[in-house]
Symmetry: C2
Subunit: 353 residues, 2 copies
DNA sequence: ATGGCTTGCACAAACGATTGTGCTGATACA
DNA sequence: TGTATCAGCACAATCGTTTGTGCAAGCCAT
């Protein structure tokens, strides 16, 4: 071991052995056979490289190869447990492949997201995983056009859709409706997230359709909410409570929306599930420890990140043509806790809420 | 605008103007004055660059300049709300400086942490923010020795300590003790995290000292727990409850430890704070919505990340010599909710628990 | 002995930026 | 007229890799 301060480069190794850099490069990259390097030479190179603790410089390699072995991850809010878990699982998947993860937080704005995408493209990441904020996807389409593999997670954007990994939102919506009905609820309010976004529309549409199948037409189901945020969830809950006092249950289309609702219920002294039942979309680590353990439709968040990374690697490594459409749907499941009460069948069935 | 598919390089710009790359480089980097480039030339270069949408390649620049304008962030668990929020604030601070953030998750093991540090050093990050897992810090000392700026956050490691940004743990310990005593508690158990780690020792020492000042000697304060994890917190809570049934309050030294304790209390049907009071270290977004809104010693988590990034940039940009010791302490505060009951003064005062 | 084939490696050109050092023409000055 | 000075730019090396091609030496066959 020759720890002479400076980092070893190919040249260091080559000079020590009195051979050329190209030979060293080929010997180390396993191209010894293809380029007819003598096995003894390869052995000597390996030994010298190990001895000098040679590690190829990813920056130089990136310049030459136009591949940086890194990928970009853009999330709307890195502090949100949902995206934090996605980040964790993406980081893990990337590590296994020897890739680095460049993390950007779009702070829930499309401008920041576009800026992040530009930054990451400039940095020559090999691929991009984006949990898009909103509805437009020009900047993402541009990546695809530029030949940069992109996979979106959670939400689906673009037409035709960009390759995506998402939860089976429709199934979740149906399960939610069926469950609430089974528990005897018929006057149900819907706390939605961002209207027009895929998770919102898929969940909402399936939910309303399933309610309709059970004899509750959609005009009897009040809907409120304008985005996926705690504040919007609180606002939506307040609005619904004020305008439709007869509701017995609320279905919140995301974890933060549910949390916003819980805060206003707590503030108003409304007891869950005695006075009002709540069903949420998205689980989170502390849902079971809440004042009322929250019953939820849980997404497999960790899988979401892992599958997104795998889908991306398929494209990066050319196993899937980058023009191919990937469409991965992950199953959701109902986690029954205590926030949805069994509602005694009542006479007001079908009453306009 | 000439969108001819390929990205513009310095050469593209130079050729369009019929001048050399070096002139273009200097004109764009504001070195026009130092190198006596004619102002009209500079203007023409700027215009052409804008027209061609030239953006310098960070990879090539990184190779030449040995500065990548990126920084590494290593956390023990990216999905933990505490570290997720640190990640979010670091990402934001980095964005403001035009730096990218490379995120690594050490999964709470020192080996992974060392591996991550190696990866990041290889990638030539300009600096490193590490939330260390454990007690040893050889790999971090090695960075410092190698001239790579390092700042540790949350925990303090190394001797002499690496530059750090941490909460005022001792003050937190004192506040906790004083508060519990003020509420009438005298038989108190301590649920610790990783023994030997700085947050743990600072919090514990100050807590026990303050209790002693109030006439509760440390031999009367049972301590359990071996690491900062929910499982360990649960185990420690079980052990304390079994061996010291007379306790009226528990002080948990981290958020996850408190959560573990809450789970066993819930499982055992012990009501908080009626049967037992709980005080936690670390706030989190949903603490107020828990079955019993948790009273905590809150750390300014966002500041922790931001200050760590700022401290790092000071070193990267040479404002602080990298041999200088940075030692930033951030104030903590008591957030009073409902998990600590006022304990009636009792006759068993001083009784061995 | 000579031509051709293989073996085993070296040379050099990229990749795209930065930067020290020339080099040329014009002006100024003696 | 000769030369010193300066403006204004070009040339080329460099960072550390990868990779197409060239080129000697050895071997075989004729």
């Amino acid at each position: 071991m020759a720890g002479n301060g400076q980092r070893a480069t190919l040249r260091t190794v080559a000079e020590r052995l009195g051979i050329s850099v190209s030979t060293v490069s080929r010997a180390l990259s396993g191209q010894g056979g293809r380029y007819r390097i003598r096995p003894e030479t390869v052995g000597a190179v390996r030994a010298a490289a190990a001895d000098l603790q040679f590690r190829p410089d990813p920056v130089a390699r990136g310049l030459r190869m136009r591949r940086t072995h890194s990928l970009g991850l853009v999330v709307p809010d890195a502090a949100n447990p949902f995206f934090a878990e996605i980040a964790a699982s993406v980081a893990d998947a990337a590590r296994l492949r020897g890739h680095a993860v460049l993390l950007c937080d779009s702070r829930e704005t499309t401008e920041r997201e576009a800026e992040a995408v530009r930054l990451l493209m400039d940095r020559k990441v090999d691929g991009l995983i984006v949990c898009p904020v909103g509805l437009r996807a020009d900047h993402l389409e541009a990546c695809r056009a530029g030949g940069l593999p992109v996979v979106v997670a959670d939400r689906i954007v673009g037409s035709p859709p960009l390759p995506f990994v998402a939860a089976d939102n429709a199934a979740g919506g149906r399960m939610a409706a069926a469950y609430l009905v089974k528990r005897g609820h018929r006057r149900i309010g819907l706390l939605q997230g961002l209207p027009g976004s895929t998770p919102n529309e898929e969940r909402k549409t399936a939910f309303l359709a399933e309610l309709a199948r059970h004899g509750i037409p959609r005009r009897l189901v009040p809907v409120a909410g304008e985005e996926f945020s705690e504040a919007a969830g609180a606002g939506a809950a307040s609005a619904l409570l004020d305008r439709h006092p007869g509701l017995t249950a609320l279905f919140a289309l995301s974890n933060v929306v549910a949390m916003g609702a819980l805060r206003v219920l707590a503030a108003r002294g409304i007891s869950v599930p005695r006075d009002l039942s709540i069903l949420g979309f998205d689980d989170h680590p502390y849902a079971a420890l809440l004042a009322t353990p929250l019953t939820v439709i849980a997404q497999p968040v960790e899988d979401l990140g892992r599958r997104a990374a795998e889908t991306l690697f398929d494209r990066i490594e050319g196993r899937a043509p980058s023009r191919a459409r990937a469409a991965v749907r992950l199953p959701v499941r109902l986690v029954e806790r205590a926030s949805v009460a069994a509602q005694p069948p009542d006479a007001t069935k079908g009453t306009r809420p």
